[in-house]
Subunit: 128 residues, 2 copies
């Protein structure tokens, strides 16, 4: 797939998350998806995202940087939101925090099959 | 610059770090470089790296994933090393730890002018 097509597909995936359009998630995410080297599968992936939105009602994914290869996308995501209770093992308890996530996605047959994510926990800690 | 040329340049930069070849650092890093949105300049960048190697004598940068655009590179780096004392505000004290860093580099005129890095602090915590 061209890098432009893959970028367009990725923006569609992010729109799907922001709309919490879970029935469409399987259009973008492989049945056998792995997250940080662990197989969680499409259903586990959806559960993870649904949990994220329960924990962070105003969660919104904003793409700051995007680099696409033929099968790999790297994205820097910005978040400006208010996690309830404990988030990343930190007592955020509804405080507004800003943080970023640098994340890689490996694609196969037009779907995400591997995700390697690092969330900036230190930035959240520094705001508490 | 082509994405292949930029990838080659980036691998040269990583080799420079692993050799601790500080006199050559300015070949790869802009005089006015910013790190996580803060201007630290080439001298500040070199000091940061020298400090890293003092704190982690067996520090070695391993590229796991690499995506190059025309002016942007994203890289996932693997580390398997033994930080002395406190590292990322954690009492590592010479324990062997494995962790990753997902990092973006913006290039201008063949040099790195912006770095946006997230290190997986939670992974280090989980090993202590």
């Amino acid at each position: 797939m061209s890098t432009t097509d893959l970028s367009t597909l990725y923006r569609g995936y992010i729109a799907c998350l922001n709309e919490q359009n879970w029935p469409t998630l399987g259009t973008f995410v492989h049945e056998d998806v792995h997250y940080n080297d662990k197989r969680i599968g499409l259903s586990g992936y959806r559960e993870m995202l649904e949990r994220d939105f329960r924990q962070i009602p105003d969660l919104h994914f904003n793409i700051q940087l995007l680099v696409a290869g033929s099968h790999l996308i790297a994205s820097r995501l910005n978040f400006d939101c208010t996690p309830q209770g404990t988030f990343l093992d930190l007592p955020v308890n509804g405080k507004k925090v800003r943080f970023t996530e640098n994340v890689f996605y490996q694609w196969r047959d037009g779907k995400i099959e591997q995700v390697w994510s690092v969330i900036d926990k230190a930035a959240v800690e520094a705001q508490l």
